[in-house]
């Protein structure tokens, strides 16, 4: 078990290093980015203070040093919590992302919870009542959900909210709570704003998981241990939930970590852009559009770290629930 744990964490760390490297390449990739532009502007001015500023920028971003050294410099600073500076806002990246990071995680977690707690019961219901009307309705809905990208759904829901119901669905807080200190009322207000974007971002994942859960459970229900559990005189509900679902759910934990969670992170970023939520998503897109690359690079690294943590948590969860892995 310890061995397994160390292996998974080691793997995650290697991935972080690789990802950060690629992110840095991306930071450096685009011609005509902010830094180059700024230096050129300063050069054009040509006076002494401008020269000094250019020198300062050169020193800070190590422009005259080789690529690898610049990367190491950036990575070391990153670990220390200095993510560089946003050129557009002329503020440290950490300051811009600070609060947004928290909301990003909250939104992703809420979406994951909704996905899990809607998809599993629906999948089970669909499998237990195979070929019934319930099964067919759930199947059709999950197929539609599977094909429906979150950001388009968000647009459609926005349309109905604004045109038909005349509602305001954007943001994570009502105006009166926007700058208020944290309180229970503010928390409720957050929940009130959170469920809709979380549900929208969950739709695609739910569609997929319902299908997989249905298939897995149908396979598992044909297994001998289900029949022998029934032969012990257990209630139908106990047989299904304690024995069949318990086994059928294991592969879903892996899928949740490796496939669904990434799509949730990305999906909630896109939904955030439509609904203007204070998460990393809108900042990331904005920084890319303006080639504010240190900000963009940091966003990528954070999103990726989130995915890797999600993956790791799924691995640990699987080991925790499945003795075959735990006791290996």
């Amino acid at each position: 078990m310890l061995n397994y744990l160390i292996r998974r964490i080691g793997y995650a760390l290697i991935m972080v290093v690789l990802v950060s490297f690629v992110s840095f390449v991306i930071i450096e990739l685009p011609p005509g980015d902010y830094l180059t532009q700024k230096i050129e502007q300063l050069r054009a001015r040509g006076d002494r203070s401008a020269e000094q500023q250019v020198e300062m920028l050169r020193a800070r971003y190590g422009l005259d040093k080789p690529f690898l050294e610049r990367y190491i410099n950036w990575a070391v600073n990153f670990v220390r919590g200095d993510f560089g500076e946003s050129f557009e806002f002329e503020r440290p990246v950490s300051e811009i992302l600070g609060a947004r990071l928290g909301y990003t995680v909250i939104l992703a977690l809420a979406t994951t919870l909704i996905t899990w707690f809607l998809a599993i019961p629906l999948g089970v219901l669909s499998a237990v009542r195979q070929y019934s009307l319930t099964d067919q309705v759930i199947s059709v809905i999950s197929f539609i959900g599977l094909g429906m990208p979150g950001f388009l759904l968000a647009l459609i829901i926005m349309y109905f909210a604004i045109i038909v119901f005349n509602l305001e669905v954007t943001g994570l807080f009502s105006p009166e709570f926007q700058d208020a200190p944290w309180s229970f009322a503010k928390f409720l207000d957050l929940l009130n704003h959170l469920w809709l974007p979380a549900l929208i971002a969950a739709v695609t994942g739910i569609g997929g998981l319902v299908r997989i859960m249905r298939g897995n459970l149908l396979d598992t229900l044909g297994q001998p241990f289900v029949e022998s559990a029934r032969a012990r005189g257990l209630k139908n509900r106990t047989v299904i939930w304690k024995h069949a679902v318990r086994i059928a759910i294991n592969p879903l934990i892996t899928i949740l970590g490796s496939e669904v969670f990434p799509s949730i992170v990305v999906g909630s970023a896109l939904v955030s852009i439509v609904l203007n939520l204070p998460t990393i998503g809108p900042v990331f897109v904005d920084s890319l559009r303006k080639l504010d690359m240190y900000l963009a690079g940091t966003c990528i690294v954070f999103l990726t770290i989130m995915l890797l943590i999600g993956n790791l948590v799924a691995d640990l969860l699987l080991a925790w629930v499945d003795p075959r892995i735990r006791l290996e």
Binding site: G32, M148, P149, L155, P262
Partner: protein
């Protein structure tokens, strides 16, 4: 022929299944799947109207601007103000200033009537890029500055939005096909080789796909396409975007093909071919690859909508195609803001064709999966 020797008492359906090849059987089974056939027909209709002949179907030219800025969709009427039934017509639009909301709006003027005609003469274009024509499927016979027909409204430059959606489909639909084609070539070749030989290629495919899967893919798309220089010509941007989409997509396909090859190469027929002394290349491409084709076709069909959506999402975010290119994504850029939804909601007309495309591809893919799977007992 096998059919001739079969006893005549055999039922017709049985006879068909016996005497025909795998692909005939697939065709036969696919035809029985109504949803799949519907998907195929709809897709053909979509591709013909959006890719082949949008110039003919659209009443105007793509960039034909007018003074009718942000005009709402024109209703085509059959009953006039006096309640008389007549041939289809539209009313004219007059500009009004809404003093309270400080907005320009448009008002219907029932005094001016324009009949809607089929096959009217209008803007010049070249059909298939070759034949010069000026006939459009429908339109009104009026001076363009006096009145126009906007069945899905107009945008902020007074261009007909219906026209723009039709033209926009061309780029969006083609990027899916092109990207998928590149993905297929790369993914299948590398997948077959990596599954059959293992070794260095296998290592590369394995590690690369693992690495890619650690990245959130759309942010990576976004970062890469943000790196496409702004000053590049639109066509180059388009191809770069296609390549980026394919570059990130082939790994998954290669891995699936590899997995299939790994199991197929242990099957009796592959072992038999080997024991007869068939060459590696023959085993790979004559014996093993056909075994993967059904899966590959299904995977490809089901992942085209993902590519189309990726383009749409990227362009919508301002990171993919940019004006003057017109795709569904760039159209969505104008439509997908709170302001747009509030004041020009008809710009969301671009959403239904996107959804329809995704749905039809999924229907087709699902039908194909059922038809191609030799073990589906249906």
């Amino acid at each position: 022929m096998a059919v001739a020797t079969a006893p005549s008492a055999l039922p017709v359906a049985k006879k068909r299944e016996i005497g025909q090849s795998y692909w005939d059987l697939v065709k036969y089974r696919f035809k029985k799947n109504k949803l799949g056939v519907l998907g195929l027909i709809l897709l053909i209709v979509l591709y013909v109207s959006f890719v082949a002949i949008p110039e003919f179907l659209a009443p105007y030219q793509l960039e034909n601007r007018s003074n009718f800025v942000e005009a709402p969709p024109t209703a085509i009427r059959f009953v006039d103000a006096e309640g008389r039934f007549q041939a289809p017509f539209i009313y004219g639009l007059d500009r009004k200033i809404d003093a309270v909301r400080r907005l320009r709006t448009w008002e219907i003027n029932t005094d001016r009537k324009y009949p809607v005609r089929l096959f009217v003469q209008g803007d010049e274009y070249r059909l298939f890029g070759l034949i010069p024509m000026n006939i459009h499927l429908f339109g009104i016979e009026a001076d363009q500055s006096e009145q126009r027909i906007f069945i899905m409204g107009s945008d902020s430059l007074g261009r007909d939005y219906f026209t723009r959606i039709l033209y926009g489909g061309r780029l969006s639909l083609m990027i899916g096909l092109l990207g998928q084609f590149l993905t297929l070539v790369l993914g299948v070749t590398l997948g077959v080789i990596s599954g059959y030989y293992g070794g260095a290629v296998d290592m590369f495919v394995q590690r690369f796909t693992e690495f890619l899967s650690a990245f959130p893919n759309i942010p990576l798309f976004m970062a890469l396409s943000a790196a496409i220089p702004v000053f590049w010509p639109p066509a180059t941007v388009y191809f770069m975007l296609t390549i980026i989409l394919a570059f990130l997509g082939w790994g998954g396909l290669a891995r699936q093909v590899r997995g299939l090859i790994l199991s197929l190469r242990e099957r009796e027929y592959a072992l038999a071919a080997k024991s007869f002394g068939a060459s590696d290349r023959r085993i790979m491409f004559r014996h093993l690859m056909p075994g993967t084709m059904s899966h590959v076709i299904v995977i490809a069909t089901l992942s085209i909508p993902g590519m189309i959506l990726a383009e749409t999402a990227l362009s919508w975010l301002g990171l993919g195609l940019r004006p003057p290119l017109t795709s569904w994504g760039t159209l969505l850029q104008d439509a997908g803001t709170v302001r747009a939804i509030r004041f020009v909601p008809w710009l969301l007309w671009v959403v239904p064709p996107i959804l329809l495309t995704i749905l039809t591809y999924n229907m087709l893919g699902d039908g194909l999966r059922d038809a191609l799977d030799p073990y589906s007992g249906r």
